[in-house]
Symmetry: C2
Subunit: 258 residues, 2 copies
């Protein structure tokens, strides 16, 4: 079983609200369709979620009445993106079934407090490819909160123990510093808890309500404990995902728990 | 609390595949937006679901591999309709939140075997309007099956005991025989288990995988046991839903458990 994350920065233009990168998503769908393994797919919300969620501080939960219309708008937008992703996957012959995180998980204080694998498991057992996504979710203490795509990735990895977990990002992997700002940045072929501490910190220029890159890397380290292999590859380079799915070596960062 | 079903025959053209009746849905959304009560909304799948589901016998569960692509296609189509409904509701200022049936219920042998009210309850508690819909769902024994909008209506009625349950149909209510074929058909202002037995049976001309009209009426009778008042009104007549929501008398069939 292979668990694949289609990063919000790969399938959407993170700088322009609600902009789907259909060609990129369709190419990744084509690459996925050639896999013979059981697949689970998770996608980020990209500019269908983060921009408005950040503006109205939806990740902090219920603070004031006026947020509610924005919660409704964001979950609608995220479902629009999910529908576009479903469409591109189905067009490539993938039997994609949409499962929002709240269909399997419950949340409290912005954390996932339970995860029920059954809904996913039943669909996979008869040959479907579940597709989940970052979403606004009900939260026991905060009213609502954000479940990131990475959080649902972690829950799926823990529940199904995949052979391979692949994060498709808009960069070749993890760098020693921000490659978009620092010419000396070098790609790290391997990331472990020790090397994570050596990475130079910088702020992302795009809205992201699901935490910093370090938070994401911490989560990837946690995920790497639940699978045979966990890696980050560049989803913008044609063929790279496909090669990884075939077990071929590619430019990437492999994440290891220690 | 008021639970409203937007019938598939009111918000879609049941004779033409994937045809949304935007104007009808927008008008009903406007009428709903004037209500001061807590609302729950459920919509049918109409021609976004039934036509393909019937063609490939999805309501009978997994029979052969070739059904799977149609399951994927139908759930995608139903989500497209749900997105359109969300859109029209949000445009009228309703804080609509999509909750697919599989987020709260589990299924076996085509029946709902458990229903967890929490996901719906949490969103309602802070001021949202949950919107659920008829859908293809995972089924413990059949692989997949169909959860009709009426089935999720029954689960919601049982779990939340609404003051009023309103079914918006494309007719004024329940008739003694098919009003589209029989000139002597008369509207029944009141339906109970006894009067149900007196209705002349005829077949619907449109695909419907969720059972006959009698099955639907049986379910409405069951629902009427869980609420103060249960009624069927014509959703195609402007203002009728709005009047009902205000407590005014309208042409309708009131469904009573005995």
């Amino acid at each position: 079983m292979i668990l694949v994350k289609l990063g919000g920065s790969v399938i959407t233009d993170k700088s322009k609200i609600r902009t789907f990168k259909r060609a990129s998503c369709a190419r990744l769908a084509r690459e996925l369709s050639r896999s013979r393994d059981d697949l689970f797919i998770v996608h980020g919300a990209g500019s269908f979620g983060h921009i408005e969620a950040k503006k109205h501080e939806l990740h902090r939960g219920f603070k004031k009445e006026s947020q509610l219309e924005h919660v409704a708008a964001v979950q609608r937008d995220v479902r629009e993106l999910n529908l576009k992703v479903l469409e591109t996957l189905i067009d490539e012959g993938i039997r994609a079934i949409s499962i929002p995180p709240a269909a399997a998980a419950s949340f409290k204080d912005g954390e996932m407090v339970s995860f029920e694998r059954t809904v996913f498991g039943r669909f996979v057992a008869i040959g479907f490819v579940p597709v989940s996504f970052g979403d606004v979710v009900p939260d026991e203490s905060m009213g609502f909160s954000i479940c990131s795509g990475d959080l649902i990735m972690e829950a799926l990895a823990e529940a199904f123990r995949p052979d391979l977990v692949v994060f498709c990002a808009d960069v070749d992997g993890v760098y020693s510093s921000d490659p978009k700002r620092d010419r000396k940045a070098r790609l790290m072929p391997r990331l472990d808890p020790l090397s994570l501490r050596s990475i130079k910190k910088s702020e992302s220029k795009h809205a992201d309500v699901t935490g910093s890159i370090y938070g994401k890397l911490e989560r990837m380290l946690a995920i790497s404990r639940h699978c045979e292999k966990c890696m980050i590859v560049n989803g913008n380079v044609p063929g790279r995902l496909e090669k990884v799915l075939r077990g071929e070596a590619v430019v990437s960062t492999v994440v290891v728990p220690r």
